[in-house]
């Protein structure tokens, strides 16, 4: 059922994931890597789950697949936020090409020297 659509979704999803993976390797600093990975990854995963929904086309399965997509959309940004925030706050260095850092001013009172105690782990 719906063979064509599910195939497209599968390929698309996998492709997004591949992009995410390449990005995670290629991007120069943590935050830019995250742009590539966590979101493109979630998108890819979501597409693959959608493909499942389409492929089986049974109510029970479809609803579960959609729930899966929902779970991803719910959790992925929170996770990304948490990692990004923690990394930023502990001083993981930004790419030298970064043009502006407005959060830094907020924390200007303290040094932002890399805190090796945790980030180097």
């Amino acid at each position: 059922m719906n063979g064509g659509l599910s195939v497209v979704l599968v390929i698309l999803g996998a492709a997004f994931m591949l992009v995410a993976a390449i990005g995670v390797v290629r991007m120069p600093d943590l935050l830019t890597r995250m742009h590539a990975s966590t979101k493109a990854g979630a998108l890819g995963g979501g597409l693959l789950l959608l493909a499942v929904a389409v492929h089986f086309g049974e109510l029970g399965i479809t609803s579960r697949a959609l729930a899966g997509v929902a779970f991803m959309i719910l959790t992925a940004p929170v996770a990304a936020h948490m990692i990004g925030r923690a990394a930023y706050l502990t001083g993981v260095p930004l790419w030298e090409g970064t043009i502006v850092d407005e959060l830094r001013e907020r924390y200007s009172a303290r040094s932002r020297a890399p805190n090796s105690a945790t980030t180097q782990e």
């Binding site: 999803g13 499942v52 899966g68």
Partner: protein, 95 residues
């Protein structure tokens, strides 16, 4: 095995699996390289998402919906580990 790789290109779902497998290794490279813990966490998070994707693709390929259940569970739960890691990283924060 090489023939498998070749058929992968012809069979769309195998192609998808191939892309996923490559992705796994790429993400793993980041996990190895780091250099910081958050980098590794990001890589691990991606790997968990890739696992979700692979399970979904496999469910389609084998026409067995039971694997979908695993995938959605993982989609919901992998998040916990990432949060825990993030909180650990955040521990080093100056209050």
């Amino acid at each position: 095995m090489i023939r498998e790789w070749l058929t992968a290109v012809s069979e769309p779902i195998l192609l998808a699996l191939a892309m996923l497998v490559i992705s796994f290794f790429l993400a793993f490279v980041r996990l190895l390289r780091g250099p910081t813990l958050p980098d590794r966490v990001v890589a691990l998070d991606l790997i968990s998402t890739l696992t979700v994707g692979m399970m979904a693709a496999y469910a389609i390929m084998t026409d067995q919906s039971v694997f979908l259940d695993v995938a959605i569970l993982l989609a919901l739960i992998a998040f916990l580990g990432t949060i825990a890691f993030a909180l650990y990283v955040g521990k080093g924060r100056i209050p």
